[in-house]
């Protein structure tokens, strides 16, 4: 019984909504390995870093999966953005002013349901950028949001 009590919430956290991102820039391929939860008492894992060259095209792929076996998540927004940040790894979210790319879709996620996105992008200004894919509209109904993120260093 104590084991069940301990394991149940961990299982629920690990298996509801999974988000992954992959960036292909030339021969470089960088993937996220964690779906983070927000709010969370834990410090987020360090973000993977991908280096891109200014004006050079790279390709971003992301996937959001409802890994729950029973629960349908209704009216979920999947929000993706690439926006300048002060430094790679910064823990505060940069303001979403003038993002390089921003997209969103809104749908229901049945058990096992998947949404995915893929897009090419080129960044003109050298600097650090945050690439993040996140859920919205789940906090009120589900208790937390989910996201995956990585840093882009544009040289």
């Amino acid at each position: 019984m104590p084991i069940a009590c301990v394991c149940a919430p961990l299982t629920a956290l690990a298996s509801d909504m999974e988000i992954s991102i992959e960036v292909k820039a030339g021969s470089q391929r960088v993937r996220t390995t964690q779906t983070e939860i927000q709010p969370s008492a834990k410090k987020p894992h360090p973000r993977p870093v991908c280096t891109v060259k200014a004006h050079q095209d790279f390709v971003v792929s992301w996937k959001a999966t409802n890994a729950s076996k029973r629960e349908t998540f209704k009216d979920v927004t999947i929000h993706c953005f690439v926006v300048a940040e002060k430094e790679p790894g910064q823990t505060t979210l940069p303001p979403l002013k003038d993002p390089v790319q921003e997209s969103a879709l809104w749908m229901d996620f049945k058990p096992g349901g998947v949404a995915s996105g893929k897009f090419s992008l080129a960044i003109d200004e050298p600097g650090a950028y945050l690439l993040r894919v996140e859920t919205r509209e789940m906090l009120a109904t589900h208790g937390h949001e989910h996201y995956a993120a990585l840093d882009l260093i544009c040289e």
């Binding site: 749908m107 893929k118 897009f119």
Partner: protein, 182 residues
Amino acid sequence: MPGHRRVAATCLMTFAAVLLAATTDVRAEHARIDLRVISGPGKEASASSDTDPPAGGRITPPVLKVKVNQPLVLQFFFTNTDPHHDIEHVLVRYYVIRAEKLGRKPAATFADSTGRPNDAQPFLGPGVVTRGEFTMDFKPDCRVGTRLKFQIPAPGIYSVRLGSIGTQSDHEHFSAIDLVAE
């Protein structure tokens, strides 16, 4: 609009909030599209929904003159207005691609558009300036949108197009704008 979505739309002054706040009136057509290319303050071209077939649609795409390497913004909202059906695995794709002529033209075909994705095939082929796609389940009033910066690298005519694939209907919806880069 349910209460929690109204609250979210008020709080989030972002693109996602705009997507949520889009009007929800149901029309006879299956999709409502707002496609824009913005080249500067007050300088933009916009297009609404057309259907394919016929290949190339019925509406002549608006033309926007731009300059090579000028910062441009592509923005679209695609709303499924079919009030009756849930459809799984719909592809919504957009692209900016070099074109031979102005006016109505069939959708571009990409090497990786048929069959399973193949890493050997580049996502950006010759003549493709930028490109993107979403795979998602459609339900009545579901939406998808994007806003991104891009530039045209060389003089010529370019086609900007956004459309659906796989809606299990006898037609698909799309919207197109032509760019003339000097």
